[in-house]
Symmetry: C3
Subunit: 670 residues, 3 copies
Amino acid sequence: MNNVVAASPRAPQLGVCYYPEQWPESQWAGDAQRMRAMGLSVVRIGEFAWTRMEPAAGTFDWGWLDRAIATLAQAGLKIVLGTPTAAPPHWLLQACPDIAPVDAQGRRKPFGSRRHYDFSSPEFHAASARIVRAMAQRYGQHPALIAWQTDNEYGCHDTILSYSDAALRGFRGWLQRRYGSVDGLNEAWGNAFWSMQIGSFDEVGFPIGLPANANPIHALDFRRFASDEVLRYNRMQADILRELSPGRDVLHNFMGFFGGFELHQMGHDLDVAAWDSYPLGSTDIASFLSEAERVRWARSGHPDIPAFHHDLYRGLCRGRWWVMEQQAGPVNWAPWNAEPLPGMVRAWTWEAIAHGAELVSYFRWRQLPYAQEQMHSGLNASDDSLDIGGREAAQVALEMQSLRGVLSMPTSRARVALVIDYGSGWMTEIQPHGADMDYFAGAFRWYSALRQLGLDIDLVAASAPLADYGLVVVPGLIHLSDPLMASLRAAQRRPGRAPVWVFGPRSGSKTEHFRIPAGLAPGALAEFLPLQVRRVESLRPGRRVSIHADGQVIGHALRWREFVEADAALAIDARFDDGHPALLSHGAIRYVCADVDGDLLRGWLELAAQAAGLRTRRLPDALRLRRRGNLQFAFNYGSEVLNLPFVPESDCVLGSPELPPAGVAAWVAS
Amino acid sequence: MNNVVAASPRAPQLGVCYYPEQWPESQWAGDAQRMRAMGLSVVRIGEFAWTRMEPAAGTFDWGWLDRAIATLAQAGLKIVLGTPTAAPPHWLLQACPDIAPVDAQGRRKPFGSRRHYDFSSPEFHAASARIVRAMAQRYGQHPALIAWQTDNEYGCHDTILSYSDAALRGFRGWLQRRYGSVDGLNEAWGNAFWSMQIGSFDEVGFPIGLPANANPIHALDFRRFASDEVLRYNRMQADILRELSPGRDVLHNFMGFFGGFELHQMGHDLDVAAWDSYPLGSTDIASFLSEAERVRWARSGHPDIPAFHHDLYRGLCRGRWWVMEQQAGPVNWAPWNAEPLPGMVRAWTWEAIAHGAELVSYFRWRQLPYAQEQMHSGLNASDDSLDIGGREAAQVALEMQSLRGVLSMPTSRARVALVIDYGSGWMTEIQPHGADMDYFAGAFRWYSALRQLGLDIDLVAASAPLADYGLVVVPGLIHLSDPLMASLRAAQRRPGRAPVWVFGPRSGSKTEHFRIPAGLAPGALAEFLPLQVRRVESLRPGRRVSIHADGQVIGHALRWREFVEADAALAIDARFDDGHPALLSHGAIRYVCADVDGDLLRGWLELAAQAAGLRTRRLPDALRLRRRGNLQFAFNYGSEVLNLPFVPESDCVLGSPELPPAGVAAWVAS
Amino acid sequence: MNNVVAASPRAPQLGVCYYPEQWPESQWAGDAQRMRAMGLSVVRIGEFAWTRMEPAAGTFDWGWLDRAIATLAQAGLKIVLGTPTAAPPHWLLQACPDIAPVDAQGRRKPFGSRRHYDFSSPEFHAASARIVRAMAQRYGQHPALIAWQTDNEYGCHDTILSYSDAALRGFRGWLQRRYGSVDGLNEAWGNAFWSMQIGSFDEVGFPIGLPANANPIHALDFRRFASDEVLRYNRMQADILRELSPGRDVLHNFMGFFGGFELHQMGHDLDVAAWDSYPLGSTDIASFLSEAERVRWARSGHPDIPAFHHDLYRGLCRGRWWVMEQQAGPVNWAPWNAEPLPGMVRAWTWEAIAHGAELVSYFRWRQLPYAQEQMHSGLNASDDSLDIGGREAAQVALEMQSLRGVLSMPTSRARVALVIDYGSGWMTEIQPHGADMDYFAGAFRWYSALRQLGLDIDLVAASAPLADYGLVVVPGLIHLSDPLMASLRAAQRRPGRAPVWVFGPRSGSKTEHFRIPAGLAPGALAEFLPLQVRRVESLRPGRRVSIHADGQVIGHALRWREFVEADAALAIDARFDDGHPALLSHGAIRYVCADVDGDLLRGWLELAAQAAGLRTRRLPDALRLRRRGNLQFAFNYGSEVLNLPFVPESDCVLGSPELPPAGVAAWVAS
């Protein structure tokens, strides 16, 4: 395995999360040996051990960590070190109580778990810089060290927003820098409404607890400020690490369905985007899935949840991404915590590799028998016996070994881009207009429809270069930023080679200052798509508006519809029952005036993909495909055997066309 | 149009809500011209512009408002001026932070939206008096000024109750005035229970946050006190306006399904009761409607919601009432915000006129592209193009013009009175006994049953003169006040000409001090209805108790039933399955011992109406009728055409017997 | 009746709760006469009258209570005196505001209802001791006094936990005593996780409001501390009463489905366990019942709810137990408050007597027309007329009189024991792992299954002697305590005479320090049941895992299942669909690896009961049986007549084999 790593530093590896501070030192060497024997080559440590490293302010205890690193390195493991700032020590909180974040009721969140810090606290920045600097000075040049993880899961437990004095001061300063003068703010915010004009930046408060809703731009600017605070905090850590530990990757481990700050921007400050993949927990809490879906996928996870995030995080750091924590058995934090189907840990691992992961690192080496996560499984049970996840990880390691040649080929760019925009997510959250409108749910539905057509997809920022894609899909981009408009404009200049564009409802419906554009939605997009959204309505559950084409009902609008006036130059491909346009197209650009049901969405996206020259394949609901290099993978997320006539048995390097539950097949594709 | 106004100041007019402070001054004249061209004759302005009028304490800027009024008046528009006190300026809150109300968790509600004031704050009374006096001095005699609106939607965003120090001081003083001595309070409240005796009025607290429920009379007296505070605040404004602006109407714009204070009492301090009619928003949030009903009426509004309030607010100010804000397109504040059916804005306007509105004023002239209400439509879209609501308003204006003769006839009193009592609403809320008991929902179900019989209805206070009605229906009057008892007594003295009375369950079940009457329910009513409610039970959803007459099941009790012992003099018209009386009558007085299903309620009320000599007609569920003067109107709230054989086509002055969706017909009736 | 009492002080009696302070003194003598005439022999008074007894600090007013006691005693009634500490006077709160408890949001709960005190407040202990001592000095030797009730319903209105400074100080001291050193605490709690190590006991906070969950042992120790505080408070009262009023019983009135502190431990400090039985209210709020079940049993109460608690509280004080408050009509505190079926008050009374109650005391003598409980019925209506409950109580009194011979036989121990453990309840609550896991619901389902088999059951603490039972069932005993292990070990030593043991899932899954046992679940139980729980999963509603035996589906797992590795010595009686064991047995010990559906649970327990040599009988769902001495009772909780062929009509001393709705039959059994 070490040879594979040496031959191609980008070939996929397996790793594990380990907490030496939680186990007797006598166990460390044996653990390290077993990790290697299992085929793991990377181990992440350190990210919650602040108090062990710095038991009192400025007093460091490195002995144990020196020995832990030495033990792991000696076994041939590469090390990822986590900065421990997600778990500030009690002595720090006691010395600086203002470090604790303040909740929406104005109460300081107390010590006793994790993430009890405020991103705006200057004292916390100082204490964080001290421990990060000290770690980097001590271990930055260690030969086994390959990467640093900053903090842990920024935003977990709803910790981006804090209502502290420090945050308020920071917010006011941020506004001053953004708007220059208070008149500028009054004008930009539209404070003529409801006599909301203020006379000084010091009069701005938090956008919560008011008798009525806050001004949407007030709420949005607070989200933007809070996002900038997270970026500033992370950049502080990254700068120290780069200075003192050159040549090592700096990464952060992001979460699923999380958009609490501008992740694409943080990607610029990192070398690798890592994420923590818990398919079963994520499925159990996915409120946008129906109860039936949550039951259906309880033991495999929804087939598109891991893939959605693999494709998303691949887009953050120029293609480099890891799974930092891979679910290896039941988790403890969902309302209901299912056991994965036998084989599912292996399948998830292969799905990540198929999407181009450089590393899949399991959480965690061994279940801990105490404290908050005692019901969270690991590769080994808490009695140190090998658990199912461990057996499946070892199996993947062997399989990877046998495929090392084909796996070292790079992942190629997909032909389909789906645009993700965190700012549009905040706008949707602040102003849903219909109680079940949800930005991520919308993007996920579009993604899932495309993937059920057998397509590979890149999730990209609105500022990403888009010219080389065949199909660009843009669901719910409420604010059209300048770079996207530039991509559109550029595409117009080379019509033969331009992508097919597909826009969802609400596109361009707000300006940067959270206003309706002067010419109504779709705002600047009307330059290319000459239509005007005259009215919108949100549809209460139970309301379904039928959509017709060629005299047939082809589907229904759900949740949202628009009343559009279209220029005669536009083709109307389908209409609502009242005659208003439902599906429109204009050259290479298409627009849907509603949230539509899954079948219609898939059919409409299929036509767009075909117009872009892409081959599609309607897959059974439990089957998914993904290509890496010239290897084509297939995954069965269901509990029945699937027979895949289109898979060439003779080319299979993994599995076969008869795909068992949780099964994986891979074959060399042309 | 101006002629119509001159000829009969009570003939209906159309108006609009306008905010010059939100638009460039260059647009004002054009806006005014277009208003007039559209057939609007009244414009309401000013009610949220405090900071523009008084940018700093005691410093006034009237220039812009002078010019706005002049521009509007010059175009021939009559002006309604709103006092701007619903949106106190930031400088005021900064100078007097105690003005902000305190929520049930003890937190001051911050600045940044509206209604951030405490009715008990002396500083706010002073600041309000100053701005109201200044406005009245400047504009009180303006020839175009026809009316003043005090504040805006008292109680919107749940702002009647505040848990501030000022409110607590006020409450204690109010109790002292009410009870004289603390012994009196202990006695009246029954503080012998649970050792709740207090030694001084200063020991009374708020009735919230306690380990167990507060004493019901404690909660009720707090509601009464808070109501008096709102009345006191409004009276302060009305007194100033009357002093400085004689001859102008003083009004307030009330809301739908709102009983946070004694609206009938406030009616005594006003010339006109106005209300804000948002049929779709009100339907979407009407939790007492089933999901199916809310979907069914999503685009027309429930057929009885506007009418219920028209009939209610007509009863506040001796028959004079306006629709101050009429929904003119989708709203932004409901969980789901539907587009009105085409024609629905016109139909709602005609429904209001049919009920006797003097004015229907649309909200708002133009959609504002920013701030909290940016998704709230207007007569014009935010790009200043005419919207559907604007087209329909113009159509109504033309139709009114052609009907001005018949429309100038006064609205006559209905033959059916339904008694509304805010105090009984508070009692129901404080002591529902069944979790789905709701005062307004109950009254609305009775109203709707009557209206489905084609009847016109007056909603009246319990103190209103009732002798001249044919049928008086009294749902849920928990406390029977002295005036109602006097009406009953008077009616007994002229049996031949007295109304038929219909009482719902819980009638008379509490005294003024929120006690069970000495002789049990129905208390004093037993004088005329010799029965005793021995027990009550609330029925969990899913429990239905069958009701029988003549060996047939004629319906079911839902939510509530009573076990009544009836004097032999009473006729038992139906019984529950266990033999207890369900429907009772005694001469002209009838009593129902349960909440019954809609069909049974309608059938039983139909018999009562017929006994009162009223003609009833069972209407299709989407059809409603209403008479104004000698014009009979019909409205179609459904999405199918209704054919009305009983409508004389030749007499139709509007529409025809074939009533399209959202259709209106009117004919001269005998 | 008095003779019966004299002849056998343990023969059942009837009583009533009475509040002389709430009624004019002129009524007292008449009330007392009517109580006696109705057949009541005991009256409870005093428990909320602190302010009447001590109107100012240290100033006592005993006159009224002297006269009340004299009046009641003169009529031949025995007196139970309640200490009035559940309703502290306002003057006390004003003098010591810190007495008020603090809620989870950090707000002091204000005066105005009851239970507004903090168990950790030293000032409240002092004031309580003063009033208890004063009462005991004055009435402790009164010849009519038979018992003292301490306080009232400890924990009602969620009042066990308080987040006050006094509680925090107390908690820290408690921890210091428990763990000795902060290192001991860090080690026991596993504070190596998430850097949670602390440096001093003063750094421990409350386990609420944290960003993430608190450490489970932190939460558990806080529950243990709070429980100890209640025990300490109660012991203080009991000690004073024992000192000053020797020979009288000391009791407390517990509630249903309540486990807020260690009730078994409090039992050691009491002579009698009393409880307050409100079958309809308890059924209405039983969230673990389906909606259909709550509707089905709305008027009778679920057939097992009263019995479950009778059997539970019989286990607290060496067999002595009372029903201190028996529902006598509708209550006021459930979301929906139904009227009992006619006859149901009588049936509940007989059910209690059948279970061995010494006293059934109705709540309350007369409905109070004011204050918080005005909608709570009594034996008499608020107009002093006899109500249904009063008539049925009188009927029971007569029937008891006629059966006094057979009723004086002692209740014998049941053959089935079901182990109840409050600590396991706290663990389940703190770490449900599946959102619908509920300790009491689980125990109740097992109890109900046994009772539907016609079995009599003792609910016992894990420390109770178990050797003499035929069948011991142990649902959800998460922590296996040493006494239970000793019982198991002892049983192993006499195999022929040992009970059959039945264990539910999660048994032994945690240590005392809330950790996973070193050898995984079932921990120490593996000594007798050689298996290992390798994994668990909680099952989202809608997930059902089929269970097979002999090629048939015999039932389903719901909510919870385990993946067990079983030693070859174990018999596998049924398997899940994936082949894992579902039902296991090893000699006299049986284990179920899941929460199973009601039919399978009943069938499996039936086999266990038969293996224990017990006779079972599958009862219709509305029928229940219970034996007292040699009297066998049958109860019909349904609304249809039940014909019981197995009841020997000739032996019936009450009722007959044709059991009407709410009917009771009793016959002399062999």
